[in-house]
Symmetry: C2
Subunit: 242 residues, 2 copies
Amino acid sequence: MRTSSSTADTKGEPLESTLEARAELFQDAMGFSGIADREIKKLAAMATLRRFAKGQMVFEQDQPCDYFHLVASGLVKVYICSASGFRMTYLLARRGEPLNLVGPFTGDPRFLCAEAMQATDVAHISRHDFVRFVADNPILFSNIMAILSKAVDSANSRIIDMVEKRVEERLLRVLLTLLDKFGAEIRLTSAELAELAGTTVETTLRTMARLRNLGIIESERGQITIIRPASLKNPERLPLWV
Amino acid sequence: MRTSSSTADTKGEPLESTLEARAELFQDAMGFSGIADREIKKLAAMATLRRFAKGQMVFEQDQPCDYFHLVASGLVKVYICSASGFRMTYLLARRGEPLNLVGPFTGDPRFLCAEAMQATDVAHISRHDFVRFVADNPILFSNIMAILSKAVDSANSRIIDMVEKRVEERLLRVLLTLLDKFGAEIRLTSAELAELAGTTVETTLRTMARLRNLGIIESERGQITIIRPASLKNPERLPLWV
DNA sequence: TAGCCTCTATGACCACGGTCATACAAAAGC
DNA sequence: GCTTTTGTATGACCGTGGTCATAGAGGCTA
């Protein structure tokens, strides 16, 4: 199953990039608003880019967290994996989105995996550089806390969903969330949707067939198109975040 | 159902306390290690104590977060409540444990409620004072991040549990976690256990009967005693935190 | 002592969804 | 070209656990 190609701490292929390109990346990255250009430049100088092929791991569970990761292009799924192999995706990160906001502060191994879903470039900053930079720019703390706040709420909301919502409702919520983030054309397989909704491929396919019959979605291999977004309006107050 | 007695932002009864007593509270509070005595004194000077009766709300969902809360005595459950009334307890906080680490940074309303399970005293610090204090003592950031890291892992672990573990396993994990934190005598009702394990009272009672027959626990009204802790060793690597 | 509420206990019912099975189409590899 | 892998599709089965029901025991107040 594992498709990572190299040793533990040097994943992906090094990638040449200009300081300007990296600065532009951090400029409008999630959580980095309100930082002076001069400081952004410092950040860009500390960063290196690496390229990952589809299916390659950006980081794996139980490994110490030595780097802060920020997606520069492509798409990465961050998921948690149980002992029995069950996977739960809880973040689809594209350009400008960090993969691990918490990890660099403690450095401890976590239970998360990150895997490239397409050819993807990721910026790396050593955890020490990152933590020192955050300490020098306290506004980052508020930004990070705001993001963590949403992440924790989303996780708690998911717990409630798992126990009291039926699969169809969970899938609809996932689709609605994906619609907000990626638009009406969602290029994911049923297996990937299942990992987002916390169910199996079979049940996802069955439910998708029902939604298709209702005229809510259309689907072909590797792609779902939402036809009638209005019909899946989310009655839940609790936020879901992907 | 709601038993809160007063207006939104002035819950509980004001309580006289000495600066020394409050300093002692913060001294060994979770997340406040490594702070100089002089700073702790400042913190204690900003805090006020309030007393809550059993069943009283410390804060409720959808209210802006104006205060940082730290339990001084008693026991508080922090839970999330869905639209349909389903509750999921995810923190039992006793002396030295904060109720809301994230909220004060954003001030935004969250989806959490906190309710006193016994007569309880809680220290309050205005969110602005708290945020300024954290900015002045950056070590607090690392401490808070370490706590959040565990909280997020625990939430993610719970999501996995909900979807792939049976109720009996979830209950055993909850009991094991409570054993670690409170000892073998757990003074909770089946309804409270159910909210911790994400199930119903009936199923909890049925499962408890099974565990009793197996000689793993004994129980009487409002109390469970773990007889054979060894038999509920936790095979899961993922942490559960309460 | 009566009355009420909370907590515990257990039976009956059944639906949701996980598991296993088979099948086929589309893409990918050789 | 052929084979293999991946993704989609659907049927059959059935176990877990939620829901609703009833009942009794312990604790509290008047």
